[in-house]
Amino acid sequence: MKRLLQEGVVRQETKMADLVSQYPTLLMLLEHLDTGFLLHDDTVARYAETHQINLDLFMVLIRLYIGDKPSKVPEINSMDLPRIVMFLKRCHQYYKEEKYPEINQLIRALYEMNHSPEIRMIDRFFNEYFEEVLEHLHYEDDVVFPYILKLIGEDGGTSTTDAEFSVREYRDHHSDIESKLSDLKALLLKHVEVRNDRIIRRKLLLKLAELEVDLTIHSLIEENMLIPAVEQIEQGNA
């Protein structure tokens, strides 16, 4: 397998602990990968090896999480797919079980401080938006991911997914769910009048920003790694 050129701040020999210290958002990456936080004295390469992750893939993921858009996407082969699918599934869990309740609670608290109709509408706006997100996540968990695992024979023969499905359908289904989040931020930052709610608003904006970063990376991985890899396999099978 061709190794990517080592660029910028992330090298194979970089110490994981130094990286995570400098870029705490990497904690989310490790959580989604389910590889644990105890970094010892591991380099990036050693960590990837210990946890059986494709090194090139790992380095691209690191760069995504530190806000660096890698110019080249590594070739994902079918051996990497189960890992990526698991990663994405864990992201879904994080959005559903942590981010949504957190943000929901903050919006409610915001309404306590600022009883305006705009804030009430923001509550509704966020909940309607998140329903769309959930629908998309369920579609992936229940249809897309089982299909992909079945395609590579990793489903243990238990999948009952419709064999007619193709990844092109998924690509079409993959709507731009980030724009509503960005609308929410714009409303809170630029337009809705502040009434005794500055601190809660700050907390809410920070949480929304965190969610946005994670969702953006999530979409990038799905669109630029997952879908092309699956398309290749489909073509190979055709």
């Binding site: 509408m121 706006f125 309607e128 509503k180 609308d183 409303l187």
Partner: protein, 197 residues
């Protein structure tokens, strides 16, 4: 269900043609308006103050030899703005009864602008919207959008092409930072372009 705080506009005009033309122009304005036509200012004498309209548009001909009466009516509704509709040259004293003059050959845009100027104190929305540098046309499109109209309906209402509507929507999104219709509704509420009932 979203409704707007409507400004009452009274048109004092005998001619059906001119009156009809003015009413049609009002309907293209960004402000939420209720428009009525009467044929003579007599109906305005002894009008209870709470029924006073926000704006009166009156043919200046109707004020000839009745300046005192007009001034007296104006005194009884001090908050109301008066626009005079003029067909050509009129004497200064006559025109001074009004806050501003609409010329018969003014373009739609000019007329709308003059009306907006008179109504602006009532609708501070204009101020806020100017902070985002929304043009008058963009404000109009936004207003109809947040009241639930589709692109085609907005195009028909404003007599512009659907592509122009889409282009205005893109600019609105760029300037406000908001793309979704639901988000724009909240924006419009915050800027008092609409209100909830």
């Amino acid at each position: 269900m979203m409704t707007s705080k409507n400004a009452q506009i009274l048109i004092v005009e005998q001619s059906e043609i001119i009156g009809g033309g003015l009413i049609a122009m009002m309907q293209q304005c960004a402000f939420p308006l209720t428009v009525q036509r009467i044929t003579d200012i007599e109906a305005l004498t002894d009008l209870p103050q709470h029924l006073a309209p926000e704006l009166v548009i009156m043919n200046v001909q109707q004020a000839i030899n009745r300046i005192r009466q007009v001034r007296s009516i104006r005194k009884s509704m001090p908050e109301t703005k008066w626009l005079g509709l003029s067909g050509g040259w009129n004497d200064e004293e006559l025109l001074s009864v009004f806050d501003a003059i609409l010329q018969i050959n003014d373009t739609t845009d000019t007329i709308r602008q003059k009306i907006h100027e008179q109504l602006q104190p009532i609708f501070p929305a204009e101020q806020a919207l100017h902070q985002d540098n929304l043009s008058e046309r963009e404000t109009e499109v936004l207003f109809h959008l947040v009241n639930g109209l589709q692109n085609k309906e907005i195009a028909d209402k404003l007599n512009i092409s659907i592509h122009t509507v889409i282009s205005h929507r893109k600019n609105i999104s760029l300037k406000t930072g908001i793309k979704s219709q639901a988000g724009l509704v909240i924006y419009a509420l915050s800027n008092k372009l609409i209100s909830l009932e």
